[in-house]
Subunit: 394 residues, 2 copies
């Protein structure tokens, strides 16, 4: 299958519309006006809107303790956590998550992989490593020609399906609609025993915070698109070269498509006290959400920011429009932010690098606090270079 | 809670934007340009796009016989059936379905109920009567003001939640995005033993076809909106009065919000050979899909069309733009089309009317054929009147 062969190359060729008899200027990213965070509703507005759900009688049912937890986090829309629902059959719970993304890259096959990875990431953040079914939700833009649709959609589906196969799950259902904008999303479901997931609310004073993917995916994706847009490119070309941008884009693309599954497996091995995955609300946004649901009176303090090489400079060069170093820049299919016992964190990082060839970083600590997260004034920026032969990992 | 009280009235008051300090001309239905069928991708195009999934290795795994069935029906987008996925835990399968709708009525609370009912209807069509979890997916139109959003969204969520509570399931997660158009959808999941669902592919020669809700929901919803649009209203006012339209709209609204759950329970009691629910592809479209997956060489022939009173005349009066009597008119949260043993059908219809106070109709037969469905030349139109006190059923 063509996409399979493509990704086995040491460097993935950019998607070439002409190979598929499409206009050379065809760009998937032009079929939605919002990117990254845009996909989400402002967190505070959402929390207000969700008030009706707070009164849910079931939340008071002491036998459904999970609902207590679920009630403690917004149950619609945030997509930070998977929800946990006890079912009729002995001791089992449904762990489910739904999310979707607007096109952030122009390569349909890789977009499918990235979205599949982003959807399942919410399960992995709960320490769930097995997925029982994936649904795929696709919105096809009205602005797409039939020809464009018939080329792009099967490639997207192949990427989504290949991503699912990496964790041994089939894409078994879903939904397709017609809409002004294109988006791709999915639902991941796992039926779990209680020892198969890790509640995210047990962070303890003295823990350290580990991040499993570098930041800057949105910056890299934008910088890459700006190669075609002179006025944009002129703003950043002083701090970054074309080759740097291509490498950063390459790194971002493979990072977004990479599954957080090994990290989830290691969360069990190294007794993680809770985790979340970094997405549209950025590092600080998701760190705050995770801090907010903690049982203990803790606070998260972040000292280090691992960032895809040169993207910190790009973010500064364009007037800090992304807020990358403040932790506000939206990430797509970002890493897991994990609260680990201090004595286990180094071993966790070593183990994940041994198994995947990708680094993880200790970026902060858990101290006594009021369930919020902050980044220190001058965090240390760790430049994360692109791998020479990224593709070989595929 | 206000919406609760509203539906306990014998006739539901139309949603009044001014009560909520919204512009009197606020109409939910204006936040999406497509209705009914518009939500779906043309069936043939979809089937083409789904080819990649056909080669799925898992489909050849003889131990996963369910996948064989799933493979026999489009697995993405059609939303005609729930998918069935065997899971790791003994003998259990995940039965899941995802669907969504653009606003077809202006009452946010009722829209929530209708969409909840439409989502679960795909489970009921498989004879599944228990739902373990519901996710809600909401797209908020960018064109909505914050004020409109903060009024409408909680009402929608209350309706969706109340619908879920009717089957004893909580809405435990989901997703909200920002988009040019508004839509509302959900995912319904049930973890089932194999005796809890009914495979839809066992229709037999000599069966009869039963339909559990009247047709014409889209026509009624449109006719109601045309009360405000002179040139439209002038086209139909010769065949229908304003009061008829309000009654038809009322009937359509409650019919769409009504659950197909009792029908699903009775499918077991009366040994149904298969079913589907009627939605965006219209009666004939869904009948053809159901016929297409049958194991036996059968064909469906439809003789009777139960239609919401006066809507057949309206459909004709506006140049048959809906194709209602040809079975093409999109339905929202329509009835189940069930293939029943001839000797059981009458008892099924009597039973459902006894339990719900709503009629079901024998509309056709199953004969030897090539797995297609057709409506005879001059089908008998059964005018289904609005109930005087519809609301009392709530």
């Amino acid at each position: 299958m063509e996409p399979r062969n493509e990704v086995s190359l040491s460097i993935r060729r950019p998607f070439d519309p002409q190979i598929h008899d499409l206009d050379p200027n065809f760009r998937l990213t032009r079929f939605a006006d919002l990117k990254g965070l845009g996909c989400k509703v402002p967190s505070d507005a959402l929390t207000r809107m969700l008030e009706p759900f707070r009164e849910d009688k079931s939340l008071l049912d002491s036998e459904q303790s999970h609902f207590q937890y679920v009630a403690a986090t917004p149950r619609i829309g945030i997509g930070m956590d998977a929800c946990i629902t006890p079912i009729r059959h002995g001791g089992l719970s449904l762990v489910q998550t739904a999310s979707c993304l607007y096109p952030i890259i122009d390569d349909p096959y890789m977009l499918g992989k990235i979205v599949g990875s982003a959807v399942m990431s919410n399960l992995f953040a709960m320490g769930v490593t097995e997925c029982d079914n994936m649904l795929m939700t696709l919105s096809i833009s009205q602005k797409m020609t039939d020809r464009e649709r018939d080329v792009v959609v099967p490639l997207i589906m192949s990427g989504f399906k290949d991503c699912a196969e990496e964790v041994g799950v089939t894409v078994n259902g879903g939904q397709t609609i017609v809409n002004p904008w294109m988006y791709l999303g999915g639902v991941a479901t796992s039926v779990c025993q209680s020892n198969e997931y890790i509640m995210p609310d047990n962070a303890m004073i003295g823990d350290v915070l580990v991040l499993t993917k570098p930041l800057g995916t949105l910056v890299a994706a934008n910088a890459y698109q700006w190669l075609d847009v002179n006025e944009k490119w002129n703003r950043i070309k002083l701090v970054v070269g074309e080759e740097d941008v291509r490498k950063a884009y390459q790194r971002a693309m493979f990072s977004m498509a990479r599954l957080n599954r090994i990290a989830a497996l290691l969360m069990h091995k190294y007794n993680a006290h809770g985790a979340t995955d970094i997405g549209g609300y950025g590092l600080l946004g998701h760190a705050n959400k995770l801090a907010g649901i903690q049982k203990n009176e803790v606070g998260f303090v972040i000292h280090n920011l691992p960032v895809i090489a040169k993207m910190a400079a790009v973010s500064k060069a364009c007037g800090n429009m992304f807020g990358l170093l403040q932790g506000h820049s939206a990430e797509t299919s970002g890493g897991l932010l994990i609260s680990l016992p201090r004595e286990q964190a180094a071993a966790f990082c070593k183990d994940i690098e041994k198994q995947e060839g990708y680094q993880a970083w200790i970026i902060g600590i858990v101290e006594k606090g009021n369930r919020t997260a902050r980044i220190i004034d001058k965090p240390r920026v760790i430049e994360v270079p692109a791998k020479d032969k990224e593709g070989e990992l595929w």
